[in-house]
Subunit: 83 residues, 2 copies
């Protein structure tokens, strides 16, 4: 069945403690060269049947209302995953 | 600065309570047509300088060790984001 992937990230101006924690942990395990780490969410929505314009619109609505908090997060993409 | 995106998802055989919660909430806000929802993580690693093979190898190592728990999660992709 086809899958729609929704990516959600904290807005750039919002503090991201999880990303900060990862960022500080990297040098401790010997990994250097990254200026910043930000952590967001990835959702995989399995579609029943075909991906129509209606299904994509429903996924976009879900992304904006249920999957992200528009005050602190941005929906960075809503895309059909190629199999 | 270039960004490397790391996507991590719970393994298919692992219960995903967050995804289940989203899945049950969708019909309540009038959204139908999705058989399953799974929730994972998306990391954006900002690279200092250029993306070399070494930097990509470091990102892959970070993905396998710090950003995911290999017992319950899969790293689904480590990719340079096009700007």
């Amino acid at each position: 069945m086809p899958t729609i992937v929704v990516d959600v990230m904290p807005k750039p101006e919002i503090l991201d403690p999880q990303g900060k924690a990862v960022s500080s942990a990297l040098p401790r395990i010997g990994i250097e060269g990254f200026a910043q780490v930000r952590q967001g969410k990835r959702f995989e929505l399995t579609v029943e049947g075909e991906v129509t314009e209606e299904v994509l619109a429903a996924a976009r609505k879900a992304a904006e209302t249920l999957l992200s908090n528009p005050v602190i997060e941005d929906v960075v993409s809503v895309a059909v995953e190629e199999v």
